[in-house]
């Protein structure tokens, strides 16, 4: 027989009070973001565990954001600005402003993201190891930024940085596309993916976006277009973990 939980009426008032207090605790948001970024970058194969471990030491705390910028997260800022400049996401589609902003190579907000520590305190091993792979040249962060602005960013309050939110914005955009696909609305999913492409021309999740597009197009029944996109995917991401899935999708009668 499965026992009822103490919090479901089995416990005394004091037991429930204590356990409820234990359930109510919440993790630190900044630490959560940091872990999310490390987790995704490792899963995407952008950095190895050795790189991640180098980022975990107490002395390396201030490094974390800078490391990710070095990996190229900063290039997604244009999209972030576009998303956050418009309160209503639906308006972002109508208003051409986001398109203009996303086309700008260096957005006005970008310097605030630079949190690179002074070279004297840098860990040369960590810097060398966390250089982005050659296959992702578009993800390089700008290297020249005023030192004063770096310091200002380093002293920022403990909230998710713009770079972290940029990745989150990408994920949210693709979430919406995926939801549309999940509710049987592939055309709406494609619209969302078009929006993603506009907002994040150098997005870090473009592989995922293309995979979703292929699935959305397949769901509309456009087999020739599906095959064409799948070939494009294969040429762009030959080692992707999605390759087999997409091959199976194309093979479907």
């Amino acid at each position: 027989m499965i026992p009822k939980r103490l919090l479901e009426g089995e416990g005394t008032e004091l037991e429930c009070l204590l356990l409820a207090s234990g359930r109510a605790v919440r993790p630190n948001a900044r630490a959560k973001w940091r872990t999310a970024l490390l987790f995704f970058f490792m899963s995407l194969g952008t950095i190895s565990k050795a790189h991640a471990v180098a980022l975990l030491g107490a002395k390396a705390r201030a490094w974390t954001v800078a490391q990710f910028l070095a990996l190229g997260v900063g290039t997604g800022v244009a999209g972030w600005v576009a998303v956050h400049a418009t309160a209503d996401p639906a308006m972002a589609v109508i208003d051409p402003a986001p398109r203009r902003v996303s086309a700008a190579p260096v957005p006005r907000h970008e310097p605030a993201l630079i949190a690179l520590p002074a070279p004297a305190t840098a860990d040369p091993v960590a810097v060398a190891e966390t250089s982005p792979p050659a296959a992702r040249p578009a993800l390089q962060a700008p290297s020249a930024a005023p030192r004063a602005k770096r310091s200002a960013a380093a002293a920022a309050p403990a909230e998710p940085t713009a770079a972290e939110r940029s990745v989150a914005s990408e994920v949210e955009e693709l979430d919406r596309a995926r939801e549309a696909l999940g509710t049987g609305e592939p055309k709406r999913a494609i619209d969302r993916l078009n929006r993603y492409d506009r907002l994040f021309p150098q997005g870090i999740l473009r592989e995922e976006a293309l995979r979703l597009r292929i699935e959305a197009v397949a769901a509309t029944g456009e087999r020739a277009a599906t095959r064409s996109l799948a070939q494009r995917f294969q040429s762009l991401y030959p080692n992707s973990t999605h390759s087999e899935r997409l091959k199976a999708l194309v093979r479907e009668p």
Binding site: L19, R23, A31, K32, L44, A218, T220, L249
Partner: protein
């Protein structure tokens, strides 16, 4: 078409999750992992690192994890990370908590969540580790007994037995607290 599409995805042999699945997995499990680590006695100043370690282990090995058992893998990893972290604490700071001169609050003050958590932490610290694992997973994290058996890697009967003993011990400690206030260091030693 969509149904077939989804079916095709399920039937594929790949064990790796896509970015979205990873995102969902992270969203759904991070808070629970962090809370579990806390409930298992990882010190506050190591909690974030410990949670990070759990996810990095998963990220490194996610291709080996069988589809559908991602949560079990993550929480099982969290258990092991917590055990290591706890051992580190006990080695480095023996007798860190001085119950004998504790200024723990009375019952009336427990409406303050923070103080209630302090008392809960002290009570959980007095549970034997194997009882604490099962107790926290069941009572705080809401896992089912089969899930706990899978996470802790013990037979279902053993999990049920540990839960029963953990609950008895927890209730006894809470009763003692409500009657006598915080236990003394001597009492804790003799209870173990």
């Amino acid at each position: 078409m969509l149904d077939r599409l989804l079916d095709a995805q399920v039937a594929l042999p790949s064990t790796s999750l896509g970015t979205f699945e990873l995102h969902q997995l992270f969203k759904e499990t991070y808070d629970g992992i962090w809370r579990l680590l806390r409930g298992l006695g990882v010190p506050a100043d190591r909690l974030d690192d410990a949670a990070q370690q759990v996810f990095l282990v998963y990220a490194e090995r996610h291709t080996d994890v069988v589809r559908g058992s991602e949560r079990s893998f993550l929480f099982g990893t969290a258990l092991r990370v917590a055990h290591v972290a706890r051992r580190g604490v006990f080695r480095e700071v023996p007798g860190e908590i001085d119950y004998a001169c504790s200024d723990q609050p009375g019952i009336d003050e427990l409406t303050d969540q923070k103080r209630a958590r302090q008392v809960l932490d002290h009570i959980l610290d007095q549970l034997e580790p194997e009882l604490r694992d099962v107790f926290v997973l069941y009572e705080l994290e809401g896992f089912t007994m089969p899930e706990i058996a899978s996470i802790v890697e013990i037979p279902l009967g053993t999990a049920a037995s540990r839960l029963r003993r953990g609950r008895e011990r927890f209730s006894a400690l809470v009763r003692r607290y409500s009657t006598f206030g915080p236990p003394s260091l001597h009492e804790i030693g003799s209870a173990r």
